[in-house]
């Protein structure tokens, strides 16, 4: 079977990115909360943790998370607009633009943390 053509379209990729980013956030969020919850036991531990986050690898993944959040939010806002405002064409261009913006935000974050 040749590749299904509906899966080579920009808007299909946009949907996948939206889904995977949402899924990524959903998987990451419990850990994020867990870590913040540590603060209950005192600032010392939190500080150790925050020092741990100074490692480059952690910084990279944090940037990725910021990127995920940005791309998921922007993609979600696109969908909300598509569903609730009068019809507009050019959705593929919009989706790509928003993904690009999210990437910029993530890169900016990355630059700032280092």
């Amino acid at each position: 079977m040749s590749m299904l053509a509906n899966r080579t379209r920009p808007l299909w990729f946009a949907a996948m990115i939206h889904r995977l980013s949402g899924l990524g956030l959903a998987i990451f969020l419990p850990f994020h909360f867990l870590v913040l919850g540590l603060a209950i036991r005192g600032e010392a531990q939190l500080d150790t943790f925050l020092r741990w986050t100074d490692q480059p690898l952690v910084k990279f993944s944090e940037s990725a998370l910021v990127g995920l959040l940005a791309v998921h939010m922007l993609g979600g806002l696109r969908l909300l607009a598509l569903e609730n405002m009068s019809w507009r064409g050019g959705q593929a261009v919009r989706a790509l633009g928003l993904i690009a913006i999210a990437a910029l935000v993530a890169v900016y974050f990355l630059v700032r943390v280092f």
Binding site: R19, F33, G37, L38, I40, E43, L50, M73, G76, F109
Partner: protein
């Protein structure tokens, strides 16, 4: 997904959009100002505003993500609907509990 779940998912999404923006700004600000954990906590502890802000955020995200995960499991796994529903509720509750605990840690004096 039915209309009720849809309503909740879209409403929480709409609600979270500004919250996420503020959250991102906060992170960038904190980073820019080079604040330590202690400095950050000093600003949040005892603040009703931040408590409300993150409390609402956590509540919204728990509902939103639970519904989202449910959809993904329905479409991408062969699990029975009832198992998926159970898991989604559980997932939402875990998120809410962990999230509120974190908010409490950050906000309670």
């Amino acid at each position: 997904m039915n209309v009720a779940l849809y309503a909740w998912q879209r409403a929480t999404a709409a609600l979270m959009a500004p919250l996420v923006l503020v959250h991102l700004v906060v992170i960038f600000y904190a980073m820019g100002a080079g604040l330590s954990a202690a400095q950050m906590l000093a600003r949040t502890r005892g603040s009703i505003a931040w408590g409300l802000f993150y409390g609402v955020f956590v509540a919204a995200v728990s509902v939103h993500a639970a519904i989202g995960v449910r959809t993904i499991l329905i479409e991408w796994t062969p699990l029975p609907r009832r198992a998926i529903d159970g898991f989604a509720i559980l997932f939402g509750l875990v998120l809410a509990v962990l999230g509120l605990r974190a908010v409490a840690a950050v906000v309670l004096p």
